[in-house]
C-alpha cells in the first residue's frame, strides 16, 4: 500500500517546480505552463485527501471540478490576452509588457 505521504510529497515537489516556472520564465505562455503544473499539484492533493481521508464523501471531488473549471477559464482568457497583446506589441515576454507602467 502507498501511504498518503508519498502523494503529498509528490504534489509538493510538483508545486515547487511549477512555482519556479512561474517566477523564473520570461515568456507569458511559459508562465501559464507553470501555473498548469501548480494546479495539477493541487488536484493530486485534493484527490489524495479524498481517497485517504473521506472516501465516502465527494466534497474533495467538487473542489477538483472547480479547479478544472478555473484552469480552463484561466487558460482561455490568459492565452486570448497573450494573443491580443502580441498583435499590438509583437511581444510575449512578461518584462516587456509595460503598458500599464509609466
Amino acid at each position: 500500500m502507498i501511504p498518503l505521504s508519498w502523494y503529498l510529497i509528490l504534489a509538493a515537489l510538483l508545486f515547487g517546480i511549477g512555482l519556479f516556472g512561474v517566477l523564473a520564465r520570461k515568456n507569458v505562455i511559459a508562465i501559464l505552463l507553470g501555473i498548469e503544473l501548480m494546479l495539477n499539484a493541487v488536484n493530486i492533493n485534493l484527490l489524495a485527501f479524498w481517497r485517504y481521508l473521506t472516501p465516502g464523501d465527494v466534497t474533495a471531488q467538487i473542489f477538483t471540478v472547480m479547479v478544472f473549471v478555473v484552469a480552463a477559464a484561466e487558460v482561455a482568457v490568459g492565452l486570448a490576452l497573450v494573443i491580443s497583446v502580441w498583435r499590438k506589441r509583437d511581444t510575449a515576454y512578461a518584462d516587456e509588457l509595460d503598458m500599464l507602467k509609466w
Binding site: 502507498i2 501511504p3 511549477g18 520570461k26 481517497r51 485517504y52 480552463a72 482561455a76 491580443s84
Partner: protein, 173 residues
C-alpha cells in the same frame, strides 16, 4: 517493495522529470509537449488514487483541450518559441531558491501532521462515486449554486476570450 509502489514511483518520476523539462526547455513547443507527458503521468497517479473519472477527465480536458490550446497559442504568436532569447529572467536563482524553500517547508509542515502516513481505507470507488458526484453537483442540498456559478464563469471566460482575441466585430445574418 510492493509492485504498486513501484508503479507509483515510475509515475512520480515521469511527472517530476517531465515537469522539470517543462520549466527549463528553451523551445516552448518542446515545453508544451513535455507538459503533455506530465499530464499523462498525473492521470496515472489519479488511477493509482482510484479516482478513475478524474484520470480520464485529466486526459480529455488537459491533454485533449488545454495542452492543444497552449500549443496552438504558441504557434499563433510566432517568434516566441524563444530559441534565441534566454528563457529565464535575472531572478531565476532567487526563484529556484524560493521554490525549494516553498516545497521543502510544505513537506516539513505536513510531516508533523498525524495523518501523514495514513494508508487508504477500503472504499467503493466505482460507479457509485460518479453517481454521488452527479447528485451532489446538481442538488440543492449539495453544490448546485457553485455548479451554476461555474457554468456562468465558463460562459464569461468564453465571451471575454473571444472578445479580446477576436477584435473584428462582424455581425452575421
Amino acid at each position: 517493495m510492493e509492485p504498486i509502489q513501484i508503479v507509483f514511483l515510475i509515475g512520480a518520476a515521469l511527472v517530476l522529470g517531465s515537469a522539470v523539462m517543462v520549466v527549463t526547455r528553451r523551445n516552448l513547443i518542446h515545453a508544451a509537449l513535455f507538459l503533455i507527458l506530465t499530464l499523462s503521468g498525473v492521470a496515472m497517479i489519479f488511477v493509482l488514487l482510484e479516482a478513475f473519472y478524474w484520470a480520464v477527465i485529466q486526459v480529455v480536458v488537459y491533454i485533449g483541450a488545454i495542452a492543444i490550446l497552449i500549443i496552438m497559442a504558441i504557434m499563433v504568436t510566432r517568434n516566441v518559441t524563444g530559441d534565441t532569447v534566454k528563457p529565464f529572467n535575472n531572478m531565476a536563482v532567487w526563484a529556484a531558491m524560493l521554490s525549494v524553500v516553498a516545497s521543502g517547508s510544505l513537506i516539513w509542515a505536513l510531516s508533523y501532521w498525524p495523518a501523514f502516513d495514513q494508508t487508504a481505507p477500503v472504499a467503493d470507488t466505482g460507479e457509485y462515486v460518479i453517481r454521488l458526484l452527479g447528485l451532489e453537483l446538481f442538488s440543492a442540498e449539495g453544490y448546485l449554486i457553485p455548479t451554476m456559478i461555474a457554468s456562468v464563469l465558463l460562459l464569461a471566460a468564453l465571451i471575454a476570450a473571444i472578445k479580446s482575441a477576436f477584435p473584428i466585430s462582424q455581425e452575421e445574418e
